[in-house]
Symmetry: D2
């Protein structure tokens, strides 16, 4: 059994890891670390874990570096870049959940950070060249050999997996692509605030950071590296009264002469053998994937307007976060890609 | 006091009318009619009306045509076209909530009906030339003199009010416009079915009738009649776990040289004096309008992609249905346009 | 027009007052005061008020005591007792929303405060003898002449109105009464925290402060003052994923020989002429009263067990808070008791 | 591997079985049967099963009796009693989800049926003496040898597990016990109707069948068979806007001299070794058990009133239905009681 350290164990990312690893055939949890809630059993923070996982949460100062095979940093932006050095020095591979290691260059990071209103200087810039963007559907080989993996943003996963085949095959005309993203409330994390205040959310839909969400640079980077064109994404995130789930509708100008059947065939072919991408020809529901590591994609051509229209759904906490991270870990350890990730969608 | 007949009194459209008219200074309810629930007090169907309105619901056969100043047909498609003749003969003005009288021509109606999977022949085609499209923000004068008003579709209201200034001023380039519409569950009406089944809806977002919703023809008709271009709408409706509310995000190519400030000024100018359209420069929430007859619109230019981006929110049951209908009735009777419609948004 | 000051204007209590007073025929808002959010328009805090009420929020230091006819303290516990002196000195009547003035004695206040985990010494004890418990259904005359009114707790309103007739008429045997209270999330107020954290609340029911909620002493005080017996309440509050609404189920041993019809007749008789208490013989819904100032009560006898079973529903923000407060103000000003309070329940 | 037939495969009970058996180490699904939806893949009915289980649903006429080790009847009341004969003849053990086989006598069944408004004659009365009440926590040995198991009602599970220790140990005084049950909407099944109509449920709590719910007789039967007293249950079910989950609060007169610590010790002792009953001393949440087969129970004494107060939470679709059924099947096959049932609660 491989042994895992989870830093940031008491947020939703940490919780997702705990839940998956408790049932994982090849990885077990060695230590739970978090600044907040240190000193109490994790089942005090998440009472549904009572009796299943009552490990104590340790403070960051008490990290035990010995005998760890992998570290998950389920930490906010700019935490991983300060933690990385010691792990790197000891050769412990790391998967980071924030934007700290999603970019190969300081300049891209700076754009990301500015969009999020953070300081833009990267504090571990020398590690960036080694960092691998952790989306297994495009980088499986690199991830298998990586020491630092930047786990993707949840919205970014839904946009990239929805767009990859079309972009790589060059069927998108024009420069701009519209991504209209709807996310559940859990995406705002586990600290109570305006974004997850029940009376504000229970019967509300609103847009936010229209055209300037931090995931835009991540998506453009990945897609344009695989395309002859330089696409520009107009991404408008929205919060809907779900707890879990992202549904992104994507609109682009389609190359002429293509019908829905052509596009669907292209998508099926592209994702053949990818265990967590499911191509459908009917309208996706977020409940089709909730609780699973699946991304469901549907692509069609609207003949009246010549638009390519794609829908992509994921569970933001699984394929959008901890599920995808364990998928990365499986690749790094040489396990089955699906190990520990076979949970069915949870319905109703 | 003017006297109103409500046909279809026990659906959500009828309920909205009852609630508004109970407080209206110039209109009172004379008779409630519905096929379903006939013979019981309307407060048995809607228990929250107990003590406020306990009128009996009469069957359609018992309509009393005497002494009625207006009839609201809050009825499904193809009911109004069979009811209209007698009202017309007696000179009783009618506001119909379905698609029966939204179109001036049989051919447009046929497109609408086909999209909805209905029979396409109109059964009161001779009345169509007289019918006025009941959106007060564009047709106030015609509505004031109309005998037959086709109350608009809820999604159509949100799209048209969001797009009108841009389309009329000619700032949209290219033919196609993307409308991504999110609606609450009450839009599916008051009969239990898949679309409003709680376990399917409470934690789900899904698309449906992508590119072929029946409101597309309605929107294109209205907009293209006011434009030099012939726009084509790609409209993708989605159901979100709200009860009430529509938020539509709209994307189009913007004429060059325009900034957000220009567009906002144009929108403010266009809607000056319209009591129910509110232009904002911040992100709209559906809760900003829930329970009120207001449509809130925000328009901006995304400089990176050159897209015009518009958000429009309404309460689908008020500005999207019964509130708009009473606004029409106010114009027809020469009342203040806002009479009976001053309720604040309901929050939280 | 009477002029009102609202202290604590940016909480849900303040919001409720603003919404009611904007439509009130006899009272208008003179000043909005709050520590948090001072300096911005109230419509920045509550965007649904945009265009309806854009008054600036003033800090407590800027209270203008001149030309005020009434002050509403929609403030947390222990704020009113520090504010009261100056208002009292100037003869300005006050309605306080906290527990500060609900008790005639320091010792009762101390029990209340201890249950809530607060300091137990009252800082304006000399004002207590003048304070009137602000439940119009029992204290209308005293309220009409009062200078200090302690607006009741939301759960207390539902319990007292549910129990009053049975207790006064002496039909409850035995000492103990069980009250099982279900409340929506808005009862936890407008500051984001665990109690209104969306991911915790959206699909959860839980009990809390079982048998030691602060409203118990309030209810026992009121009921036992009107009874030969000294009843003891076992009250178990629960949070359910509503936004608004309280439904309390009440169980007590019924005096022998009474049937449901007797009890219902007794309840109808008792509340005759009370405009906001509605007696029903069918199962109440919280949606029957949401958005209105109504309390709906249903009483029955379970023949198998000899229990009296009562259900009571209110909107916790209206009859449970600001609606009841305006009802008190109407009595104090000699207005119709229902002035400004005629809003129908909001459904769906 | 044992082979299972599921009759009623396209309701929520059937779905729960499918989801559990797809991951079960010792049982696999041999055939899915349902009248509604026959002829289509089960993943058309439940799209989240796409790719995981695409078996066709067969009509009841096509049941293949060969090579079946167990049959689950996830069917409505009065279906199992007509199906049972052929299974019985062939010696195929059956677990029925309705009330058909929960009672040892025709007279008890008649009370149950009358409360539910059904015909009261049992159509397979000769099978009743063989039927075992399928609650493993009390009947494990009998279930292990049973040929017909009546799976308990969901509310009944929550009440019985909450009350058993107190009743058996004789610490409840007086005859009557109050059970105040809150259930999610999925309890109303998979057919759209008033009880699961989204606009009616999303922001509503209401009581129903107060004192006359069909589970009362089931609970009284089980408890009184283990008690010197003849307890009478006053059970008031309520629907809350959850999808899954039951929280029942239970009130009874406590024998004198007992403190919370005594009761808790008694409960812990009683359920020692029962893998699915978890005793807690803090306030239970329905989210503590949602998605798991666990029942969480908390018992305390309210010293002020002398009442025993118990809270019990389950997932109505798992411990309240299909999870409990698989637990029974595990006993019948001699598997580990927990086989296939190790899923953690699903949160958030």
């Amino acid at each position: 059994m491989k042994k895992a350290l989870i830093v940031g164990a008491t947020g939703f990312g940490g919780l997702g890891l705990i839940e998956i690893l408790l049932r994982h055939p090849g990885i077990r949890i060695k230590q739970l670390v978090a600044r907040k809630d240190a000193g109490v059993p994790v089942s005090r923070v998440f009472p549904h874990l009572k009796g299943y996982c009552d490990m104590l949460v340790d403070p960051p100062e008490s990290i035990d570096y010995n005998d760890i095979d992998i570290a998950f940093f389920s930490t906010p932006d700019r935490a991983g870049m300060t933690l990385i050095k010691e792990f790197h020095r000891r050769g412990i591979p790391v998967i980071d959940f924030s934007g700290d290691f999603r970019f190969g260059s300081e300049s891209d990071y700076a754009v990301y950070a500015a969009n999020k209103g953070m300081e833009t200087a990267h504090l571990a810039a020398d590690a960036l060249p080694e960092a691998v963007y952790g989306l297994p559907e495009i980088n499986a080989e690199k991830i298998a050999g990586a020491r630092i993996v930047g786990n993707p943003g949840c919205f970014a996963v839904s946009m990239i997996l929805g767009l990859l085949p079309a972009v790589e095959k060059g069927v998108i005309e024009g420069a701009s692509i519209v991504c209209d993203g709807k996310t559940g409330v859990s995406g705002a994390g586990k600290n109570p605030g305006e974004a997850n205040f029940y009376p504000q959310r229970y019967e509300n839909v609103n847009t936010y950071r229209e055209g300037r969400h931090q995931h835009i640079v991540e998506v453009e980077n990945v897609l344009n590296a695989r395309s002859d064109r330089q696409h520009r994404i107009l991404f408008v995130p929205q919060i809907v009264p779900l707890n879990r789930g992202i549904l992104t509708t994507i609109y682009a100008d389609c190359a002429p002469g293509l019908a829905t059947a052509d596009i669907q065939a292209m998508y099926r072919e592209y994702y053949k053998g990818k265990p967590f991408v499911y191509i459908t020809d009917s309208s996706p529901n977020t409940t089709d994937v909730r609780g699973s590591n699946r991304c469901e994609v549907r692509a069609m051509v609207d003949e009246r307007t010549g638009k390519l229209f794609i829908t992509s759904v994921i569970d933001n906490l699984l394929k959008g976060q901890s599920g995808n991270a364990v998928q990365n870990a499986n690749l790094m350890f040489g396990f089955e890609e699906t190990a520990g990730l076979s949970a069915l969608p949870f319905y109703p």
